[in-house]
């Protein structure tokens, strides 16, 4: 019984410590929640956004660590902004004025909690390190090299074995005393020459045909763009919808390249690349994302130090290299395919959310188009809201489906193979 006493004491102590720590944690958590709900739309801990950065602001000369001055500002924005030269300068620099808070909506202890959170976050630099760097994949290249080496070795072994075989045959002939004429060297042997000619004809013919078919086709075309723009980072990791930038694909023939102001919607505040995986170009060279964002600012005429002075109308267009080119004698319409036809972007453009540098995934040949038109099924349920009312005019097909003659309607059935659909 006596020995129990220290244990209970220790237990209560442990509980006390635990609770006090969890209390601190709750305090900091509160600070984070308060910061996010009250301040974060205009302030960031590490960077100037709409308003000045708040990390270390308390230690600046004007405040000198005095929380009273902070309270004075927060509760008295409307008077101080026109009387205090410090704030008048800030107004000039940032071009907008903070909303004043009342004591009952944001009491002093909440401000303390917010500044405690800011201090802790600002002094923990580890949160700013880039996470999980990804190495570029080289396994497929290595595989090709290995296969090449193995086939070379096998070919050499085969040659040696053939030589050994003929030598052995000659030796056995000699031993048995059969006199044979001196063998014809292999380059004058008619069988060999015929074989080589045949192989040459087949292989050469294959490549000539392939090359001729491939004229003016650009599958796998992957040009270097003026800015290393990674679809993987934007559409993959950050889950930006394709239509955010290529919204015209929904409404028009062209998928449209976004103008600089669309980039700047986000990059006005995202000025550096720190949180994503490391980037590499196709040659395996490391890419500095922040430097690429700087290139965008060059085109936009945007100075990250003076964000409010930016004039979007002064931006210069970025001349991206067009990858997907159809000949002029083909008509293709994006909205027809993705809006009416419900085709996913990835069906033709491949796994774009995994591509750093975009390359042409499909052949964009006529055979490729026609094949898809033969196989793609049309959503014929015009009676419910998912289908297109237009298809109600194909009465024959509806009757055939009802009577079981057809189980589905493909693009081909509604005229998808007509020449004039695409060539006119």
């Amino acid at each position: 019984m006596i020995s129990c006493k220290p244990i209970t004491q220790k237990l209560t102590l442990a509980f006390l410590i635990f609770f006090s720590f969890s209390g601190i944690k709750i305090f900091a958590q509160d600070g984070k929640a308060l910061f996010q709900s009250k301040c974060a739309s205009c302030h960031n801990v590490f960077k100037d956004v709409t308003g000045p950065m708040l990390g270390g602001v308390i230690d600046k000369e004007y405040y000198g660590g005095d929380m009273k001055k902070i309270y004075n500002w927060i509760y008295g924005v409307n008077t101080l902004i026109n009387s205090d030269p410090h704030y008048m300068d800030l107004k000039k620099q940032y071009g907008s004025v903070m909303t004043q808070f009342e004591r009952n909506s944001l009491p002093e202890k909440d401000i303390d909690a917010i500044f405690a959170y800011i201090k802790v976050t600002f002094e923990t630099p580890t949160t700013r390190e880039p996470k999980d760097p990804l190495k570029p994949e080289t396994s497929s290249n290595q595989n090709a090299v290995i296969f090449g080496v193995i086939s070379l070795i096998l070919a050499i072994i085969a040659l040696i074995l053939m030589q050994v075989n003929s030598n052995l045959k000659k030796m056995s002939d000699d031993a048995e005393g059969i006199g044979r004429p001196e063998p014809v060297p292999f380059y004058r042997n008619k069988v060999y020459i015929a074989m080589v000619a045949l192989v040459f004809f087949v292989v050469g013919g294959f490549y000539v045909t392939k090359g001729a078919i491939g004229l003016q086709r650009q599958k796998d075309y992957q040009p270097e763009q003026p800015i290393y723009y990674s679809h993987k980072v934007h559409a993959g990791i950050n889950q930006i919808s394709c239509l955010y930038c290529h919204g015209n694909a929904w409404e028009s023939k062209h998928a449209a390249i976004p103008s600089v102001n669309v980039c700047m919607n986000c990059h006005k505040s995202i000025t550096e690349y720190v949180k994503g995986p490391e980037l590499f170009n196709e040659a395996g060279k490391k890419i500095d994302g922040t430097a690429e964002i700087k290139k965008l600012y060059e085109y936009a005429g945007f100075d990250p130090l003076k964000p409010n002075a930016w004039d979007p109308s002064k931006a210069k267009p970025i001349e991206w290299v067009k990858i997907h080119n159809l000949p002029d004698h083909v008509y293709f319409n994006h909205s027809q395919h993705i809006r009416a036809g419900n085709v996913q972007c990835q069906t033709c453009h491949g796994e774009i959310t995994a591509m750093d540098e975009v390359k042409q995934f499909s052949e964009l040949s006529m055979g490729w188009c026609i094949n898809c038109h033969r196989q793609s099924k049309v959503n014929f349920n015009y009676s419910d809201s998912t289908g297109n009312k237009f298809y109600s005019i194909y009465e024959k097909f509806h009757n055939d489906i009802k009577s079981g003659k057809m189980d589905s309607v493909t693009v081909k059935d509604i005229g998808g193979l007509e020449c004039q659909k695409c060539h006119y």
Partner: protein
């Protein structure tokens, strides 16, 4: 000697084939490209030196007051603080019943959801509670009294010209589409309000502090 030459030749061709670069940076050749390239200027087709020299790029802002074909009407308020205040009295020209909410939701998810969140909680994939790349916290559209009380005209003004960290969406959404998105946000706010007040009414019978949240929301 000959054998050596043949083997060396094999090895060299093998190495050349294997070490070929797989990145295709060129467009390849065209054979008789008679009808491949448009004679007329086409969107995004290589415009040639003549257009470039004349500086004809179509990324500038349209002339002030321009109304695109099929567009509703010009929004007349200026992008300044006076215009911002005035915008509170602007009413949506759309008839509430005729708005295609499904399309409005799609427009919201494509253009706004990335920051303001699919649940309108101001926590989209770009912000992710502070872990995403976006520095400023996007507005909490449902659940924040400021934005629930905000007039639809003010919202429209902000979407048209941009506000704080948010850019202008006038180039991505037509006037009608912007009003549709705002109608969607307002409908979600109304739905959120009835939901929270219903929950609060339930809990207020049991717990007193819940009253506090009810008064705040009102």
């Amino acid at each position: 000697m000959k054998k050596f030459l043949i083997i060396a030749g094999c090895v060299v061709t093998g190495i050349v084939i294997v070490s070929c670069n797989h990145v295709r940076r060129d467009t390849g050749r065209a054979y008789m490209p008679d009808m491949a390239y448009s004679v007329a200027y086409e969107t995004y087709a290589p415009s040639g030196e003549r257009l470039k020299a004349s500086g004809a790029h179509y990324t500038g802002l349209p002339v002030e007051g321009t109304i695109a074909r099929g567009e509703m009407f010009a929004y007349m308020l200026k992008n300044d603080s006076a215009g911002y205040v005035q915008s509170a009295s602007v009413k949506s020209p759309l008839v509430a019943e005729s708005i295609d909410m499904k399309e409005a939701q799609r427009l919201y998810l494509v253009n706004c959801g990335i920051c303001h969140g699919a649940k309108l909680d101001g926590n989209g994939p770009l912000y992710k509670g502070g872990d995403g790349p976006y520095l400023a916290k996007p507005a909490t559209l449902v659940g924040d009294a400021v934005y629930e009380a905000m007039a639809e005209g003010t919202m429209f003004h902000s979407v048209t010209y941009g506000k704080n960290s948010m850019g202008s969406y006038a180039s991505q959404l037509s006037t009608k589409q912007r009003w549709m998105v705002i109608a969607y946000i307002k409908s979600k706010q109304a739905a959120g309000k009835t939901a929270t007040s219903a929950v609060a009414a339930d809990t207020s019978a049991v717990k007193k502090p819940a009253m506090d949240t009810v008064t705040k929301k009102m």
